[in-house]
């Protein structure tokens, strides 16, 4: 039996169905539950126990929805007749909840066919099932969403690799899609395809103005929503969300980096094209004019410290996007990428006393065994090891680094871009 509050009923029911147990009882209590006092919890339990007993004894309603069981082979996308007018089409997209809110390109069979020419993979090949709805991401259905987002056929293999990456268990797409936290998958592209496709790694690479960055991130969002079933307010439970949920994609500025590029660090060949996805909880500008490497690293590290961070709560994998200028300062100071990670990890330790009481109890539970117990004097590392600080070099001229905190309960996943 599952217990949840009224705000999570839609998610709970959809999950039970997707996981193949649609008749498992769901006991529902009024939202919000987590903020109630001890006495209020007790009062609620006094009556709620009768509902729990009633459901345990089989008095709940059974699901009468016809089971639509997956057959292993993805179903072909249905053809739908719709007004041949861009405004009317987009009104219909809004009504059907196909949209991220911005106008879409109609995925006509001809456009989808042209998109599919961008890959050698079979139209009906299953790429992944995407939580929390566990919809089937076939090559065809990914291509349909790519058309709608404005992608070009040559961008489709990058999108397919990104879909494979987010579906990897280590990424925890289930948690990322359904959480109240503001999490967006950040796509980082490395290797020769980044330049071929014109994916911006330089000035304003995380901002507007580059088509490839805009449409790749957008297409992944449409896949997560339309195939993964994470519709805002239903299974996407984000309290605020964040602008990166529209699009969050860049390439690494490999030419301006003094170190090995990300994909080589992660075990791929320099001549391979690779997509890495990160469960990003936002971006924060770290502006420092320091020309002293040790001084700069210290300033960056202490800027990452905040006791409301999921990375500290759960031993996460935070990221820094160093501008070429900041990377150059560090390189001139004699720091390797591993040295940078080590110093950041050491100097971003946070006194556990910074926590609010409830959060202190939570971190004691979540990280107590990792750290051999946590007291108010404990210095909490932001992640389990220096290796799990992510570093990329990107952006244009300027003395900025972008701190990308994460959902915490996620790890970056890389996939080679296939044909």
């Amino acid at each position: 039996m599952v217990v949840c509050s009224t705000a999570f009923v839609t998610l709970g029911r959809s999950q039970l169905k997707a996981l193949g147990s649609p008749d498992l009882p769901l006991a529902v209590m009024p939202h919000p539950f987590g903020v109630r006092t001890r006495a209020e919890v007790r009062a609620l339990a006094e009556t709620f126990v009768d509902e729990v007993a009633r459901l345990a004894l089989g008095a709940g309603e059974q699901s009468h929805e016809a089971d639509q069981r997956g057959t292993g082979k993805p179903m072909a996308a249905a053809a739908i007749t719709i007004a041949d007018d861009l405004i009317a089409f987009n009104d219909e997209c809004e009504r059907r909840r196909w949209s991220d809110g911005l106008p879409l390109v109609p995925p006509t069979p001809e456009r989808v066919e042209q998109m599919l020419a961008g890959t050698k993979r079979a139209r009906d090949e299953m790429v992944a099932r995407i939580a929390p709805g566990f919809g089937e991401a076939s090559v065809e259905r990914i291509a349909i969403n790519a058309v709608m987002a404005g992608c070009r056929p040559q961008e489709l293999p990058v999108l397919i690799a990104a879909v494979e990456a987010v579906a990897d268990e280590r990424f925890n797409i289930q948690g990322i899609q359904a959480t109240t936290n503001p999490v967006a998958p950040w796509i980082i592209v490395n290797g020769p395809l980044a330049a071929t496709l014109g994916i911006n790694a330089g000035i304003n690479c995380l901002g507007q103005g580059t088509r490839a960055n805009a449409v790749l991130g957008r297409a992944l969002r449409l896949v997560l929503q339309n195939i993964g079933g994470a519709f805002p307010g239903e299974m996407d439970r984000a309290t605020h969300g964040q602008p990166g949920k529209y699009t969050f994609c860049c390439a690494e500025n490999e030419a301006a980096s003094p170190w090995q590029p990300l994909h080589v660090e992660r075990g791929f060949g320099a001549d391979e094209s690779v997509v890495t996805v990160v469960g990003a909880a936002g971006t924060l500008n770290l502006n420092s004019h320091s020309k002293d490497a040790a001084d700069l690293l210290h300033a960056l590290a202490i800027s990452m410290i905040h006791p409301t961070s999921n990375d500290y709560h759960f031993a996460g994998e935070p990221w820094l996007v160093l501008s070429p200028e900041h990377a150059d300062v560090l390189k001139r100071g004699g720091y390797s990428k591993a040295d940078v990670k080590q110093k950041i990890w050491e100097q971003s330790k946070m006194p556990a006393a910074s926590y609010a009481r409830k959060d202190f109890e939570r971190v004691q539970h979540a990280r107590g065994s990792e750290l051999g117990g946590i007291s108010a004097d404990t210095l909490l590392p932001i992640g389990p090891s220096p290796d799990e600080i992510g570093i990329v070099v990107a952006g244009g001229p300027g003395t900025h680094t972008v701190y990308v905190p994460t959902f915490g309960q996620t790890r970056a996943v890389s996939r080679r871009v296939g044909k």
Binding site: M1, V2, V3, C4, S5, A7, F8, L11, G12, S14, L16, K17, A18, L19, G20, P22, P25, A27, F33, G34, V35, R36, V41, R42, E46, F48, V49, V52, A53, A56, L57, R69, A77, A78, A79, I80, A83, D84, D85, F89, R96, P106, P107, T108, I130, G135, I144, N172, Q174, G175, A178, T179, N226, I227, G228, G229, H313, H365, A366, G408
Partner: protein, 97 residues
């Protein structure tokens, strides 16, 4: 009537995974073992304390087995599943807040 066009549906139909556990209602709670898998969200442990106690005093449940996930958004461990499967007649877990 305005001109029409055909488009392909971008939405994946919701499918039900095969092989999920089926719910078998109990005929009584008397003498049964109830397991709680705490999802680590605020107040669930207090609710489990109270529900466990009330299920025993009011409904004759024999005993309660407690587990807690490390964090809400990760699955419980295989050991937890094995343990509740072995010991419990009914398992209650939390979802969301």
């Amino acid at each position: 009537m305005s001109k029409m066009q055909t488009v392909l549906d971008p939405v994946a139909p919701a499918t039900t995974a095969a092989g999920g556990p089926a719910f078998r209602p109990l005929t009584t709670l008397q003498g049964k073992v109830v397991g709680f898998i705490d999802n680590s969200k605020p107040n669930f442990s207090l609710l489990a304390d109270d529900l466990g106690e009330l299920l025993m005093s009011k409904y004759g449940v024999a005993r309660v087995v407690r587990h807690r996930k490390r964090t809400a958004s990760m699955s419980a461990s295989a050991e937890v599943f094995a343990d509740v499967k072995k010991q419990c007649d009914l398992v209650i877990t939390g979802s969301g807040d």
